[in-house]
């Protein structure tokens, strides 16, 4: 059995992550809603097929930023708890790169905070994605693709 109480609310890790474990960790008797999000490696991007991704993070700074984002969400919406884990390293199709769970008394707040957290991570967390497919490896820099060197 997992030990939800001991699960860190924010973590950047090269081990597998799970929205379900986070959901259990944010549960509370006051929570009527638990919403989760998983970012998953998919087999295509921009019309090209994808074999695998590699995530690289500035881990200590990324954990600080995730904590900031979680705190912003908790200030902005009336939520019970929020947890965010981001994975690094090589991930195959179907593997989870980011997992988020939010609990709240009423569902509207959980949905809005969840959306804010993932959108803001994608803007602000120092985590980079290298995509490998039949044409080689590319860094995904916002809307741009840039060929990777290794």
């Amino acid at each position: 059995m997992s030990q939800p109480g001991r699960l860190p609310r924010v973590r950047v890790t090269d081990r597998p992550i799970s929205a379900d474990r986070l959901a259990r960790s944010v549960a509370s008797p006051h929570a009527g809603a638990i919403a989760t999000f998983e970012g998953v490696v998919r087999d295509h991007h921009g019309g090209k097929s994808v074999a695998f991704l590699a995530y690289e993070a500035y881990a200590p700074m990324a954990e600080k930023i995730l904590q900031q984002i979680a705190s912003e969400a908790a200030r902005r919406w009336r939520i019970e708890a929020v947890a965010v884990h981001h994975r690094t390293g090589r991930l195959g199709i179907g593997e989870v790169s980011v997992a988020i769970a939010v609990s709240s008394a009423h569902r509207g707040e959980a949905f809005e905070a969840l959306r804010y957290v993932i959108d803001t991570i994608k803007e602000r967390a120092p985590i980079w994605k290298r995509e490998t497919g039949p044409d080689g490896s590319f860094w995904i820099e916002g809307p741009d693709y840039v060929r990777a060197g290794d």
Binding site: Y58, K122, E123, R124, P126, W139, I140, E141, G142, P143
Partner: protein
């Protein structure tokens, strides 16, 4: 005390590939800013120059302005556009 700043530079993604390392140490004049740190690095690795507009900078694990004055022992990180961002540094939340 020597009249230089010892600065550690952290590199990720493309800048890491260009420089061939994820960490390097520089000695900079005591008046150096984050921008000066980039210029010193780009003089060794000219390929970095074209990235300048797209890069953000962090000092000691916090986003910073390029004109931030550095202090001895600071850690400067070059932050390429992140995967979900819009790619224009000026619009990043601060």
């Amino acid at each position: 005390m020597r009249e230089v700043l010892r600065i550690r530079v952290r590199l990720f993604a493309r800048p890491r590939e260009i420089c061939g390392t994820d960490t390097l140490d520089l000695e900079l004049p005591v008046t150096a800013t984050a921008s000066d740190c980039f210029t010193a690095l780009a003089s060794r690795h000219p390929e970095l120059k074209s990235l300048r507009e797209a890069l953000m900078v962090a000092v000691n694990e916090e986003y910073a302005q390029w004109n931030t004055q550095l202090a001895d022992g600071d850690v400067v990180a070059l932050i390429p556009p992140v995967s979900g961002g819009c790619g224009r540094a000026g619009t990043w939340p601060r």
